[in-house]
């Protein structure tokens, strides 16, 4: 136990001096996904079971919505007298429109009835407020496997951990939730923009790979056709805003219901998809992929992902692996103006602070770009391209 804690601690201090690791683009790695219910329920799988995308792993029921009925007010009686007029008691099952309380006066000349607004159970009767709370019927909640693979752990009453061998690509930003489909290259090169002409009727259910960006018309046509997901390098701010119907305020996404999942790999504006990402996706054309656009940048960074299960490569690398940091030769991508999107290799990492154009003294590094130029950029403005 203590040894484990020490090992953890060592890893932490190592990371303290490392730089922000880039997004993962891996040909083969072991992926594990924990599929968990929001509250305890029943788990349907056992260790060693093989599961597919749609298989239900666990199921539960969450308590229904409560409905507040102002019974005393409706009957015209004082709250403290309410219990006398209740036909149903706490714990009783009631059907919609079934009478739960009644008031008769003047030998039946005045009759008042209060029906239940929903199917449910009487949860409470208050003699202070004169309110009755009817609890609605439970709502079932299911969790599917999301990725095909093997159940490696069962979390009793909560869910299961699924493991698979797959290619794994992280995007920088996405919208829309979990889905899956067959990978199809919609463009010929990472520089090419994905326009509506590229989208065909036969693309229904596919994961379409674009190049430098996707146009608004293309997104709309993709929804019409029934495309599952679009993966591209960039998208214009104006287009994504129009497509979702509102400005994105903070980067917490995944719940949009816009008809497809969108994954952006580089950033906003027209941005050539990184050659590595493009080539990797191309080599898996025709494979089924599980994708998720959910993005959350603050607290527990969550990036959109493309998981392509396969059994062809077995080189192992762990998802928990920590970046070793930057050294001369490390491939990097510049992620801010004036060289945004440029790819290169670290040439040197000067120790001293340097004054940049803004007059700030910052730690910098020299990068040799693909075109041979050597430029100096703040260390905060590059990300490592993980090999």
């Amino acid at each position: 136990m203590k040894a484990k804690a020490m090992e953890r601690e060592e890893r932490v201090s190592e990371e303290a001096y490392a730089y922000t690791p880039g997004l993962k683009v891996k040909r083969a790695m072991t992926i594990t996904k924990t599929r968990r219910l929001p509250i305890p329920g029943e788990v349907f799988v056992k260790e060693g079971d093989k599961v597919n995308y749609h298989d239900i792993v666990a199921r539960t029921e969450i308590p229904g919505d409560p409905e507040i009925v102002k019974v005393a007010l409706l009957l015209g009686v004082e709250p403290e007298d309410l219990p006398r007029y209740m036909i149903k008691k706490v714990g009783d099952k009631v059907a919609k429109d079934e009478v739960i309380a009644a008031y008769n006066a003047l030998f039946g000349l005045i009759k008042k009835r209060v029906p239940s607004p929903i199917d449910g159970i009487i949860e409470s009767i208050s003699d202070v407020t004169g309110q009755v709370i009817v609890r609605g019927l439970p709502v079932p909640v299911e969790v599917d496997a999301y990725i095909p693979g093997e159940v490696v752990e069962v979390l009793p009453r909560e869910g299961a951990v699924i493991e698979t061998n797959a290619a794994f690509i992280q995007g920088i930003f996405g919208i829309g939730g979990e889905t899956h489909g067959e990978i199809k290259m919609a463009v010929k090169s990472p520089e090419e923009a994905l326009t509506h002409d590229h989208i065909k009727v036969g693309d229904k259910g596919k994961v379409l790979i674009g190049g430098s960006m996707v146009t608004l018309e293309a997104l709309r046509k993709a929804v019409e056709v029934g495309v599952s997901c679009i993966v591209v390098g960039g998208i214009k701010h104006r287009d994504v805003t129009t497509f979702i119907g509102e400005e994105i305020g903070v980067a917490i996404t995944g719940h949009e219901e816009v008809g497809l999942t969108l994954i952006v790999t580089e950033g906003f504006g027209e941005m050539k998809m990184s050659r590595r990402t493009f080539d990797l996706l191309k080599s898996f054309e025709g494979y089924l992929a599980a994708v998720n656009g959910a993005t959350q940048i603050r607290a527990g960074v969550m990036r959109p992902e493309i998981i392509i299960p396969h059994n062809e490569f077995f080189e192992q690398s762990s998802m928990e692996e920590l970046s070793a940091g930057m050294v001369p030769g490390t491939p990097v991508r510049i992620i801010r103006q004036p060289y945004f999107g440029a790819i290169g290799k670290v040439v040197s990492l000067p120790v001293e602070l340097q004054k940049i154009q803004t007059e700030s003294d910052v730690r910098v590094l020299d990068v040799e770009l693909e075109d041979g130029r050597v430029v100096t950029v703040p260390r905060a403005n590059v990300e490592i391209i993980e090999e």
Partner: protein, 611 residues
């Protein structure tokens, strides 16, 4: 009551940390020659998330950096934590910490009437350093089922329930309590414990509330937040929130049980520490303070006006994670109006979106820096607007009106008037990292538009929360460090309120400088001047505004006042209040460049290349 391990006069070393959502910041202080001073800072990534899930690892790493930089050992060799007190070789005499990791303190508040008890409850929760997720009230315009759905979807750390004056409303208050109980909210940090609820409503209802909620929630009963309509008493609720924060919230966050054992001083939410620091400034100077913490995700605004402390938090106004939300709330044209060069609005939008998804990047070009500064002005402006909706006079009280009030449209709700603010203090990454100090002074001036004579401060190294929590147990040490090493005196802004025509005279300012020299400056409308007056030096000023312009004594009336020097000097701002940028694009850009040139805001050669 906190028991210190050593008498104050024998203390030599103090360590304070702030466990932030991304970085844990350690600050080390020492008393070498009878005076408490800041020594060094150490920082490390916060380790609240998987795979670490133990904040003390990040604290240890930050402290280790302090050890490496100073050679002074603080951590116990056996890994048991921080050694307290200092034994002559190792350790510190006092360790305290603030925390906002894992989302800080997230609360839901409820009251009877939106503008009365619910508003008071909101102020109490904010003042305690919480992020208020929602305010539920009987008249908030939502149907009961909508409120229930909302409460069910929230997972707060705590609920503050108010309602009714003492001996006042009863049934309606219980109704709100029944609604909360029916919704059955679950605590954010796991379902294994009871959700804490503080009841600060009608005292007569305490037994009924106890009966209704006592078995399902961790209920604490405190004095009414509005015992009578005319009085707001937030202190008992605030104290209960802090206690519950330690007992119920922090103890369920990863690693905090351990951290709580390391410190003798209760762990405080970061904004509460920052608020203490702002109150410290107000109490030492005995003046009204407007403070702001402009962060990456949120903007906190604090005011201390006539002794009344109010905090507001704009949870989604910030310079990195929330930068696009500033764009969404302010609108792109409002950001672009602060730029003197031609740039496509869509290009600005794309850049801000890219900053949001890569929040740790920094501007490399002057153009990019100026764009960020434009966003900062808007974030601050919106943050202050929001603050004004929280810092309001108590509603529900009959206000005596004079004949002259009758002619005014409506009695203004907020009591925050820039003319009565004597001090503006700023903190946060963008302000402290501004390459020239005049930039943070000018950004604050453009955004808050101080009126009259206003002292401007900012923090040197981020340590206001640290000193805030320290001030709760050792005020003298905290103030000395604050004064000497934390507060940077930017200078003073002299800005008459009023509007005129470009080029018309606005005021004359006569300054008797520390060396006896008399400087006389005439300021015209639309003009701005900067006078050098170093930090820790004062000048006697005689300010004579023109008719229609006011510096605090009424329109056209002279003011004699001592003005404080600073690293950015004294700014004579003749641009008028409210500050209006010309509609005409050409004139607007011309004026911006003229102002910037007059005060040497940016390197001019590079700026000219952009225009």
């Amino acid at each position: 009551m906190v028991t210190l391990r050593k008498p104050k006069e024998e203390m030599r070393y103090i360590l304070a940390t702030d466990v932030g959502s991304t970085t844990t910041k350690a600050r080390f202080f020492s008393n070498e020659s009878g005076e408490w001073r800041f020594v060094i800072a150490g920082e490390a990534p916060t380790t609240v998330e998987a795979p670490y899930e133990d904040v003390t690892l990040g604290v240890r790493n930050a402290v280790r950096e302090v050890e490496e930089l100073t050679g002074h050992r603080i951590l116990a060799p056996d890994g048991s934590g921080i050694v307290v007190p200092y034994d002559g070789k190792i350790g510190v005499d006092l360790y305290c910490t603030t925390s906002s990791a894992g989302g800080g303190l997230q609360m839901m508040v409820a009251g009877l009437i939106k503008t009365m008890t619910a508003e008071s409850a909101n102020r109490a929760a904010l003042g305690a350093g919480a992020i208020v997720m929602d305010v539920i009230a009987r008249d908030d315009g939502r149907q009961p089922y909508q409120k229930i759905q909302r409460i069910r979807s929230l997972r707060p750390d705590m609920i503050l329930l108010a309602g009714g004056t003492d001996g006042g409303a009863t049934a309606h208050v219980v109704e709100i309590a029944e609604l909360i109980k029916a919704a059955g909210p679950k605590p954010r940090l796991g379902a294994g414990y009871q959700l804490p609820i503080v009841y600060a409503g009608n005292k007569a209802l305490q037994p009924q509330i106890e009966k209704l909620m006592g078995s399902e929630f961790a209920l604490t009963l405190v004095d009414n937040i509005r015992p009578v309509l005319e009085v707001e008493n937030t202190e008992p609720a605030r104290r209960a929130i802090h206690e519950l924060f330690m007992e119920h919230v922090m103890s369920h966050a990863p690693g905090y049980t351990k951290l709580m054992k390391w410190t003798d001083v209760p762990i405080m939410p970061t904004p509460a520490g920052e608020g203490m620091a702002m109150q410290l400034i107000a109490s030492v100077y005995k003046e009204n303070v407007l403070g702001v913490g402009l962060g990456g995700a949120t903007t906190n605004v604090y005011s201390v006006v006539d002794g009344r402390f109010v905090r507001s938090v704009s949870a989604n106004l910030g310079m990195s994670y929330s930068v696009t939300n500033v764009m969404k709330s302010a609108g792109l044209p409002n950001i672009v109006r602060w730029l003197p060069f031609k740039i496509d609005e869509e290009e600005v939008a794309n850049r801000l979106m890219n900053k949001m998804i890569r929040p740790t990047t920094i501007p490399q070009t002057l153009e990019d820096l100026i764009v960020e500064h434009a966003v900062a002005r808007e974030a601050l402006r919106l943050g202050l607007e929001h603050h004004k909706t929280i810092a309001t006079r108590l509603k529900g009280i009959q206000v005596q009106r004079t004949i002259s009030d009758m002619f005014e449209q409506e009695l203004e709700e907020t009591y925050i008037k820039m003319m009565i603010i004597d001090i503006i203090a700023g903190t946060g990454g963008l302000l402290s990292h501004a390459p020239r100090r005049i930039q943070s002074m000018f950004i604050l001036t453009d955004a808050f538009q101080p009126e009259g004579v206003t002292k401007m401060f900012q923090d040197s190294v981020f340590m206001m929360p640290h000193l805030g929590v320290l001030s709760t147990v050792y005020r003298e040490a905290a103030w000395n460090i604050f004064d000497k090493d934390c507060l940077v005196r930017l200078g003073t802004v002299i800005a008459p309120a009023g509007v005129g025509k470009l080029g018309d005279p606005v005021m004359t300012v006569e300054l008797e400088m520390p060396d006896g020299e008399i400087l006389k400056e005439e300021v015209k409308f639309g003009e701005i001047k900067r006078i050098n007056l170093p930090e820790r030096q004062d000048a006697n000023a005689v300010i004579t505004p023109q008719r229609g312009f006011d510096v605090g004594m009424g329109p056209g009336h002279k003011l004699e006042k001592k003005v404080m020097g600073g690293v950015a000097g004294v700014l004579l701002d003749g641009r008028g209040r409210p500050l209006q940028l010309p509609e005409d694009e050409g004139l607007r850009k011309e004026l911006l460049v003229k102002w910037w040139q007059a005060i040497e805001l940016y390197p001019m050669d590079e700026l000219k290349e952009l225009i």
